[in-house]
Symmetry: D3
Subunit: 323 residues, 6 copies
């Protein structure tokens, strides 16, 4: 018998049955003994347009019951190498976003303290700020692979510093990011001004607009990214709106984050990006902006679940079978 | 030609066409020259479960294009007697609920200052608190006809005083309500404790639980209410979840407000309640908790639009033709 | 073996399988040998608001696969007494409504010529005008049991005589109706003027507004109707919007016809109405204004299919078992 | 601190967050220490028309996060008196229905062996047969309160004895039911023959057709039922299709079970029925035929969750506060 | 302060709030002082299959609230250079298509008379005929960039000359088009005969079938088109069904127009096409066949809104910042 | 007049009208006189997750009303060369999958006995096993072009030999396939073990994973396939989940078959595959796993209908016009 947790087998309990945990893995309330844990931050309290990402983790868990154990495309067998569990969702104050951010930082910091790595499901993109704060405390400034339609580096929103279009600006100010190792991929959409991304570029961010990705494999880009990252710790932040709304209609929350924007990345390009992270020193990640109400088929959430599985497959320590 | 505004006729512009204003009435940005105006407060920022009522006013306006000019059931011809317009939505800070409440009070107070009466579309039920504050400044403490599945008289939510389950408690504390003239109709659903409504009862609120309404016409109740109200100013607060979810599935926002609860009032009972307000000294009203995402047929919003029209038909000054 | 057509048994072919005909009855292209036939008029070409009833017959047929053979509530066994078939839909010109009306009259007249009675699925309510013309040619002026939220007796729409809010006015002018034997049940909703129904009343129509039906069994009304009708030929015209939108959201087509209106009849009341037609000399009927796009659950169409079955059960010649 | 399990408070963890267990109660894998447990039987393998009830338990759990702790309508405080938990779903063979029935009987029998009572969520109505077998082993023949549109007492379906329209016939043959104490409420819909219910009546079943319930309070019926039941053990079987599809569109599975049928019970009548069970010796129950795909609003599942809560409130041992 | 209209800022009024005008621009009823105006033609009266595009403009306006002010992909800042407003919808007779066409021609001609350019939202593709007539009166025969799955050059439909599959044939006959400068891009789908497009080719139309576009950038094609067009006036007609239904499911109206056809253009290719119009002498455009009922997520309408914004960005007079 | 069946013309009967048969072709109950027939196998009885493909054939027939007569992309005019009809669905036992398989084999074998070729709509992928058995009896072992996300070559499922993940293993064991001429295209998704496809490879199957297809035209692959196949009889099995869920969300049934998997084939690639079969000796085909409930827009079914039309266009005997 394996010493590692495994998803409940469909032979033991059919897929529609059972308490919904991520990937049908065991649920435990802390990170004890875990290499990787999956948690959720069910908050969208500052949505300025479409709301609903607070229900994202529940739908992602539900759809994740379709994901099996190995990755034939890459040969990864994560459950043979890592102890993984679902640690439930972070208790959060829904009426005070700065307070909620503190709670996220503290809770995730506590999950990470003995070396467990954390994948967090949103919720809205604000959560990446406290997540990166927690990561920095453990690992120092990190490289960032950021899939998104929007740069999320505004200074303020309606005068608020801690808000939904600002996480990566705040993260820079707090020293969480190694700015020369930040890659924002898939940026597009109409903007407030042509200077929207200037600040980010001045910090040294590498911004790869969606237009630069059209018709292209992401493999060469990932080769460059791997070269840049070297052995440095790297964090992956995946806003589902990076993917074209033709594939993932179920998003749409904020003024400058989580909005469906046409001409986006394909799921294939995103698979290349995440699979291209193999070999990097990944220290954590998030998957944000899934909004169930805008995709009742569940396929946006199922796509998110697939990408969380793909992230898991590139965490350090996963062995790949010869193929 | 009438001196009053009238809905754009379907003969002049077919119903699917045109900029969506409430009832196809003219849009103006202040209340100048108006007897009644309709506005929206697009905020749901404290939703602790399902979100989305911020989009309520837009969908209610869209569906209101189906409402015609007279009320054959009662003989009311509101557009022959009142100058009515759509004054657009209230500019609100979406990230600071107490601040938004101040903005609502001020904006609506300004609309009311020359005698215009206001019907406000939510958004969530929090808005009734600043609305009642504005009403009190103009009219002093008012009687209240409150259709709802929940009493919304909690003291705090997660420690917050100004929040979504608390508007009528705050309104009492601020002296906005003549408590012996408050009628809460349709209360039901599971609760936090059996003492949930004790405070309201101690203030003198008349709580008519849904169970007391089952199988009954509301006409006798309304007769009693009219007797109690006399000539006093009266405010109507209509939470769409007062209506059974079989009729209005498109609701559902809060922990103790705006949640679908079975065994509710029928639309017929609610028609009897609003039509039974004829003769009262109505000074304002609201229609809250319509959440478009939960009813893509649009019928919940169409129901809300109908009830706003019925409210309009019982405002003082509306003449009724002999029938 | 029965000499009558019977629905394909679910034992012979499971309900999801098979070419969709009404009630899984045989399809034939004329009325030869039939006592009753079911046809469709897939037209909504004058819709001034929501469109889509042209797809009504297809969805009603699809959902009708759930309807079984006997009516335990009344003891009716229609397929033991009547030869019934689906005769497909009427070929119609979709771009010329007056022309389409002529086609309907001619086609249905031809179906009726050897005594077959016809139930027609709409499509919009305009079709009742040519249907009544065809009925008149065969039977002379008829009594009418008309379930609807709207009287549909306008003189013109946008200057057009043959249009969607006018069928019963045109039918009167053409002498199709015995006006003292016309009962319009369920009328309600906002109107263009308080005189909307005056013309109908002047002709002698009996208008039973929805408000008069609230909380009441329809059995006494039907007793009165049966008394009035005596042995005269009677036609049933059923606009699905007669039923409250809480039960049948899937409607909504026209300016003054086929629009969801709150406070409507319950399905129970409508069952009492149709079942209360037992003993009358029913000579035909229609079921109009089902709009699939507004009810993807299919339940509006399923309700329509149930009521067509109930109509079939009260056609002359159906025997009722002792119960 | 209470010695009993309580739902996770929304103050501790907001309603959209957390692993979805029934009523946010703790999950345990056996019945140890429990007075009542809730489980699921995720099977619909014999559906002859619409499929999907296998996903019912998952959606009911998800929607149950909206249900609070006490029942203000009746004064019941179940979590002050009973130890309740979610014991997850029963492992079942999805390809062999008779085998699955054996698994259900054995698994539920094991949950019951130390006195824990079980409420089971379906899945399709077949499951009531093995559930009643398990109940009989513990309690002997029981009385039955059966809410349903269909009697489910066919002899065979397509030649199969253990199938979806047959559970209560099989239960009678196995001596599980005290036939004079069986009440089937809400029976309606078209049928295969007028003799469909004869066998049930011959066994002594009390069949209360929906037509007998129209416009009536169920309180007098429940008084009669309580008199008949006395202290005998009673089982409640609740097919969601007992409720009119206007309230619960999300059903529809089988040839003679789980099909939306118009003219059904209201949620109010069903509340009266379940609340009217107070004082009976309830020994178990089930809630079946919720089919998520036919009601994406979630309200059918939310209704089911409410009724499971209402069942819980009438289990022996629940104290009621003076009101 | 800018002398040009600008969208209402989300800082001044949150995106869900406000009367829905296109891009949140001011609404005025004529074209006075405008460089470009946006209007709607809410008509689908000849739909021979799926109906509903009459509601397209309303949903496009609603979704357009997500579009911001500048185009970072191209550097265009249209609101710094052009005076743009929403001029509402064209009053139309819904029951007489030829009459409606005359109304469109007259109304749009009047909007254009002082040099304002018009972008018209459909509605069905018939409207391009009167739109091109109006354009011709002002500019003479124009070049055409026509994105569509269908050529829409039938001679008649059911014997009607002015109909939905015929606009570009009529436009040729009326001398509205410079046929050697007509490009139809994305043509595909099953056909009535292999000669369907022969007439168009004989006129000199350049037909670029979807198959010719597969896997390819549209940039080279646009270079060729720009070369062909030179300084001649050019009109853009965009049928949303040009885009693959994987991106835009919300279409589907006519027999040979507005039908979802697989294997279509990607949104990326269409962005290249519209952006590739930069430098051309664009004199007007339309966006047709958005049908809200077939895409409740709103993403088809949001895509349409994006492309109208992209059109705006290539109108003559728009300056592009250095990037 | 043609000696061949033709779809009912939209000129004779508008597309929304008429009894729904495949492509609006005549319905006959046997294969007499036919070159090709289309049938359905409405079974999904072993679904271990999402159910509903039993309703696939009904929705595909309904959507097929949009497909016209010729294929302009290839020049094929199938109805000028082949006698085609809809032969309705196969009567099946829904409760006994092995029995149902025998019924399919026998029924389809009988349809094929005089040389008619059969295209079968599923239902789930299990049906390919008996279909291939019937094909083998007529033609001996065949080559296979299999579009799918999953290999469907498991040995057993839950101990069952005849089940949904096993059809092609069973087909090999029964000698139905010429294994060196089997091409499985589009295989992807998470797996149970990295050895999942080893058995298939050992038989000589050519497995083309989706990853190998990314960014590529399928034309070269089809050239290779045509070379390999030569004149041998070839069967096409098309699981709609081969196509990326961005295009076809409406699928999802089984543990290892019919599940939406990201990174799939585009509709364009699948068009190239089917069109690339031109010249092959196609002897039959199937289209499986369309699940209507997961795509209410109908576009998944419409896509399936298109591909069935494309299959028809490459059957031997179809002439292609010079283009």
């Amino acid at each position: 018998m394996s010493k590692f947790n495994r998803p409940i087998s469909a032979n033991d309990l059919a897929r529609p049955a059972g308490i919904s945990t991520m990937f049908r893995l065991p649920h435990q309330t802390d990170a004890k003994g875990l290499d990787v844990c999956i948690t959720g931050a069910c908050i969208d309290s500052g949505a300025s347009n479409r709301a609903g990402t607070r229900h994202g983790p529940r739908q992602i868990r539900s759809e994740s019951s379709l994901i099996r154990e190995v990755n034939p495309a890459t040969g990864a067998e994560p459950y043979d190498c890592l102890q993984v569990a679902d640690v439930g969702d972070i208790p959060l104050c829904m009426y005070d976003l700065p307070e909620a951010c503190k709670q996220i930082k503290k809770h995730v910091g506590s999950l990470m303290k003995d070396g467990c790595k954390v994948i967090t499901m949103g919720g809205d993109h604000t959560i990446s700020y406290p997540l990166l704060q927690a990561v920095k405390e453990k690992y120092g400034p990190v490289g960032l692979i950021h899939l998104d339609a929007h740069s999320d580096t505004s200074d303020t929103m309606f005068g608020n510093k801690v808000a939904h279009g600002t996480p990566f600006r705040r993260a820079v100010e707090d020293g969480c990011l190694d700015c020369s190792k930040v890659f924002q991929i898939g940026i597009r959409g109409s903007g407030y001004s042509l200077q929207d991304c200037d600040w980010a570029k001045q910090q040294g961010f590498n911004i790869i607009r969606a237009e630069e990705c059209w018709y292209k494999s992401m493999a060469p880009l990932m080769e460059e990214i791997r070269r840049t990252m070297g052995d440095n710790p790297v964090y992956i932040s995946f806003d589902i709106d990076a993917i074209d709304p033709g594939f993932c209609p179920g998003t749409g929350t904020y003024r400058i984050s989580g909005t469906p924007e046409i001409g986006g990345l394909t799921t294939i390009q995103c698979l290349e990006i995440i699979r291209g992270c193999r070999g990097l020193n990944i220290v954590g990640g998030d998957m944000v902006e899934v909004s169930p109400g805008y995709d009742t088929s569940g396929n946006t959430a199922l796509t998110a679940a697939n990408f969380i599985f793909e992230m898991l497959c590139v965490f350090p320590g996963v062995k790949y079978s010869q193929r």
